[in-house]
């Protein structure tokens, strides 16, 4: 192999090192830029009425997003209640029963593929599945689409976490005569508890920032979510609508809502990180 003079090789090496460092700095720079900008513009919009009042028409003082906050919470909780058991059970199946079977392998493959399907397509799917037959947008459809997004995430994380539980633990449980299900519930779950929490937190964090599927399912509403069977107000679609509006005060409220969403998502992600680190130690 022909080599260039050492001077050039060293110079090129140095150039690439500098470029690599700059690239990493750019990434951090954008993260900081986004966080600071949202914090700065969002903080000025937050007030007591933001958390307690219904949206006001543009130009009027003192509107809030209380209904959207409640709506988002409701749908996220509903999605979690529906999605977590299904996801965990799926993960248990993959890790404990379907490790090498053809069914297990194809399920794992399918879950990975679903995770890569854009959330807007999930929204469209739920729209054709629920909203069209029912005839109007409902909060249930919103929660359902969020649950569909959560299930594969939780199932895959659960599977990974259960796989980390040493098989000697399983074997000793079986050896003292515990039935298979008891071994899973009392031994494996306990050993993998913080791992399961991580999966759930990550999935909740992921769906609480979702907008596209809600656009097609829960839509939005300027009223209190009296029944979740109706179109349900939520923060993310409100951000979208308000940001696209020409009114300055609505845009400012959208910044407030962005700050709220971003903070909760980041806090959940950091906690998930923290919990899983504890497990490693």
């Amino acid at each position: 192999m022909e080599l260039k003079p050492v001077r050039i090789r060293i110079a090129r090496d140095l150039a690439m090192k500098v470029l690599a460092t700059i690239s990493s700095l750019i990434g951090i720079f954008f993260l900081g830029w986004i966080l600071l900008e949202v914090a700065a513009r969002g903080l000025s919009a937050l007030s007591l009425s933001f958390f307690t009042h219904l949206p006001a028409p543009p130009g009027m003082e003192g509107g809030g997003l209380a209904n959207a906050i409640i709506g988002t919470l409701l749908m996220t909780v509903l999605a979690t209640v529906a999605g977590v058991p299904v996801g965990i059970m799926g993960g248990v199946y993959l890790a404990e029963y379907g490790q090498t079977t053809l069914l297990g392998k194809s399920v794992r493959f399918t879950l990975n593929v679903i995770m890569g399907v854009p959330s807007i397509i999930i929204g469209l799917f739920v729209y054709t599945l629920i909203v069209l037959p029912v005839g109007h947008f409902t909060g249930y459809a919103g929660a359902f689409s969020l649950a569909v997004i959560m299930i594969p995430i939780i199932a895959r994380v659960t599977e990974d976490m259960l796989n980390m539980v040493p098989s000697s633990l399983r074997e000793s449980a079986l050896a003292v005569g515990a039935p298979h299900w008891k071994m899973i519930v009392q031994i494996v779950f306990r050993a993998a508890k913080s791992g399961l929490m991580t999966g759930i937190l990550l999935a909740v964090a992921r769906v609480s920032g979702e907008t596209a599927p809600l656009l097609f399912t829960a839509l939005n509403s300027p009223y209190w979510p009296t029944s979740i069977g109706q179109p349900t107000a939520n923060l993310t679609v409100t951000i979208y609508n308000y940001a696209m509006s020409p009114y300055q005060d609505w845009q400012s409220i959208a910044w407030g809502a962005s700050l709220l969403i971003m903070t909760s998502v980041l806090v959940m992600t950091v906690i998930a990180r923290f919990v899983s680190r504890e497990r490693v130690q």
């Binding site: 990434g27 954008f30 299904v86 807007i120 054709t128 907008t211 596209a212 940001a243 962005s258 980041l266």
Partner: protein
Amino acid sequence: MVAFLIIIGIFWELVSNSWLSIKEFGFTYLYNRNWNPVTEDYGALSSIYGTLMSTVIALVIAIPMSLLVALFLVELAPPYISKPVGYAIELLAAIPSIIFGMWGLFVFAPFMADKIQVFLGNYLGFLPLFQGPPMGIGMLTAGIILALMILPFISSVMRDVFQMVPAVVKEAGSGMGATTWEVTSQIIVPFGVRGLVGATFLGLGRALGETMAVTFVIGNDHTISSSLFAPANSIASTLANEFAEAAEPLYMHALVELGLILFIITLLIQIAAQIWLKRISRHLEGI
């Protein structure tokens, strides 16, 4: 049982989506560049073009950057720097796409219009790519924001790939007197090239279906322009933007068919990526 439900769910999704679009325009839909709700003439070409173009811009920016970031994290930085930096880059992935959209529309787009696009127009304006008024929103802005969004995904996979390269191999290179960059470009990258391709696939799938951030900044215009400054649209942005307006059944079905196209594209990419990654892990186990 649970597993079956999920599989059936996917098939149901496919069927219910295509069921709605059966009454469509046939194949002409794919290469018709008109999109006119008034005359009810619909074609997907501008949306497909926008989706692919914004993804290409994103990949062109994100792939080399991710490679460099991964290189920095694995080979250059000491652990006390690479840990927090890697963590910060991963946090970028946790930011919801609507936040990227808000920031993109109100902060980044004006910046693009005032600084970057003026600069590009002045110095590279002879290229048709960089002509037109600097409006801030448009294809280029969407591509850059997409790049930021997929950067953490690609770089974290690339980092894993870099870490999988056995230390002995790297040390052998260094022992021969190779510089860090020579070890990277001639030993690590060829060694992990399959993994790098897999990482790209993942980023590609993300970028194609990204909705909210793109909808905010792409400008939502059904035209195919040679300039990257011009407003455009993507499949996902068209869906998000026009779904609420679609009162006529034909309009609605045209939109759902757009969704079907996007679904098929991402499905194929995902399946390819999964098979590819599985082959890599088998390949690595064999070593």
